[in-house]
Amino acid sequence: MSIAEKEQQLIDDFAIYDDWMEKYEYIIELGKDLPLLDENEKSDERIIKGCQSTVWMKAAIDDGKVVYKADADAIIAKGIIAMLIQVLSGEEPQAILDAELKFIKEIGLQEHLSPTRSNGLVAMLKQMKLDALALNMKK
């Protein structure tokens, strides 16, 4: 599935829920599927700055595709990073760099998260793209 198709699937999944408390329940559920980092991988340099909660992320390249793993100390932050990973993980670095990620706006995540949390979302996305860029240059 392409990034755009994965995004569309998330948009469709969220469309089922009427109110935002239900959407949050779904975000919390998604957090449970997050590909977790091992405890010894949760080092300070893997902390994403700009998030209200502590979020760790690691990117590696596997057969030309970027594979992300992450963890967070807050459950909703876990759910958000899980969505980003669901869409971007397993893609080629250039595709990640080019991704526009319209699902964030279409689901309404930005409006429904506090500004600082929304900054956290932006910070997560920025880090994922930076990692993809670094891995692309190493290639």
């Binding site: 408390m21 949050y24 909660s53 100390d73 807050a74 506090s114």
Partner: protein
């Protein structure tokens, strides 16, 4: 919505909002300069606000009331200007429960002037460990800066006793009243406090306003804060002589509308009986504390027997941001995080708390709604 973030800022009464409108619609002119009618009118109103504020805090002289942009600026002003009078080796005493704005300016001053900065630690109940006071407050201590009420814990400090102890050894006192003037009566003359600072927006006035009260002889002895218009008597290319108080400390065009509206806010607040406000807010705090304890895994931070209407807590295993996000989604505004008091969080070894802070316009029905919303959030996250 339910607004329980009064520790951060208060909602504004209609009279304050209208006062700002009226100023800009009918009175807008720069103060202290023009001979024209509007300038005189706005000067009169600005100075009348200063008198209202003077009376509200019980100051002896209106020139002891300096307009600032808020508590932070007030503390920085004292750190910079009173700090200029201190010598290398002098000590400044603060406490572990201070807001960052009553820590960082002193750290900066200590570095600049080679002073020693000491602090009174807190205990598990979130109270000052006053048994250590005699050890920390010595003849070397030139300034003791502390908060009246902790913004994170709600602890009300024994200010009268602390001021007396400091004065007994010739140490000056700065009282951070940012969390207290909206909850209880504070009289600078009765307290004999040397400096007092507060923010306008927490006492139902506009943001970007605040007050530094300082004893006249101290303010006179201090160098000016910033150079510019209004703070001067004469300016020649060879040098400048400074204006009298309060203008010496108020360079540049001030926040005129803000100052006038702050006066209006305190006039509005004066119509209420502070004893009744205290009793009612205490009732709200007791009720919320009792109700929240029915939720499993709740831990309250700040368990002093003398507490203001601030309820800081965590729920076992749950992150404060998750709780704050889900409360927000249900229309409840609380604060999550370290509340600009990282040393307190370090003491308890926690990343932050969830803080509900009540004002006298809040109700028990709102607390019921908050508790239910909290239970719903917990059930979703557990």
């Amino acid at each position: 919505m339910v607004y329980f973030d009064n520790g951060a800022t208060g909602q504004k009464p209609q009279v304050v909002i209208e006062r700002i409108n009226t100023y800009y619609q009918k009175e807008n002119a720069n103060i202290h300069r023009g001979v024209h009618h509007l300038s005189q009118l706005s000067t009169e109103n600005y100075e009348a606000a200063r008198s209202i504020i003077q009376n509200f805090i019980g100051a002896n002289h209106s020139e002891e009331v300096i307009f600032t942009s808020g508590t932070t600026e007030g503390i920085n002003l004292v750190a910079q200007c009173y700090g200029e009078l201190l010598q290398a080796g002098d000590e400044v005493l603060i406490t572990e429960m201070e807001h960052h704005s009553n820590i960082v300016p002193w750290q900066m001053l200590a570095e600049r002037k080679q002073l020693t900065l000491k602090y009174i630690p807190i205990n598990e109940k979130g109270e000052l460990r006053l048994e250590l006071l005699d050890e920390l407050l010595t003849t070397k201590t030139k300034l003791f800066a502390f908060t009246h009420i902790s913004n994170s814990l709600g602890t009300i400090n024994p200010i009268k006793e602390l001021i007396e102890k400091a004065h007994a050894i010739g140490c000056k006192v700065l009282l951070d009243a940012a969390q207290s003037l909206q909850h209880c009566q504070v009289n600078v003359t009765e307290l004999d406090v040397d400096f007092l600072v507060f923010s306008g927006h927490k006492v139902f006035g506009p943001t970007g306003t605040g007050i530094l009260y300082g004893k006249k002889e101290l303010l006179n002895a201090m160098p000016p804060y910033r150079g510019g218009g209004d703070m001067i008597k004469t300016v020649k290319m060879s040098g400048t002589t400074y204006n009298e108080l309060p203008h010496k400390m108020e360079a540049g065009t001030p926040n005129i509308a803000g100052g006038i509206a702050l006066g209006q806010a305190l006039e509005w607040l004066s119509q209420f009986d502070f004893q009744e406000i205290e009793a009612y807010e205490h009732e709200l705090l007791e009720y919320a504390t009792k109700e929240i304890k029915t939720i499993e895994g709740v831990k309250i931070f700040g368990e002093s027997s003398n507490k203001s209407s601030i309820l800081s807590f965590l729920i076992d295993g749950l992150h404060p941001y998750d709780i704050g996000t889900l409360l927000n989604q249900q229309g409840v505004a609380v604060r999550t995080g370290h509340h600009c008091t990282q040393p307190i969080m370090d003491f308890f070894d926690i990343p932050g708390t969830i803080r509900a802070s009540f004002s006298f316009y809040n109700t028990k029905e709102e607390i019921d709604y908050f508790i239910n919303a909290l239970k719903k959030a917990v059930s979703m996250l557990a």
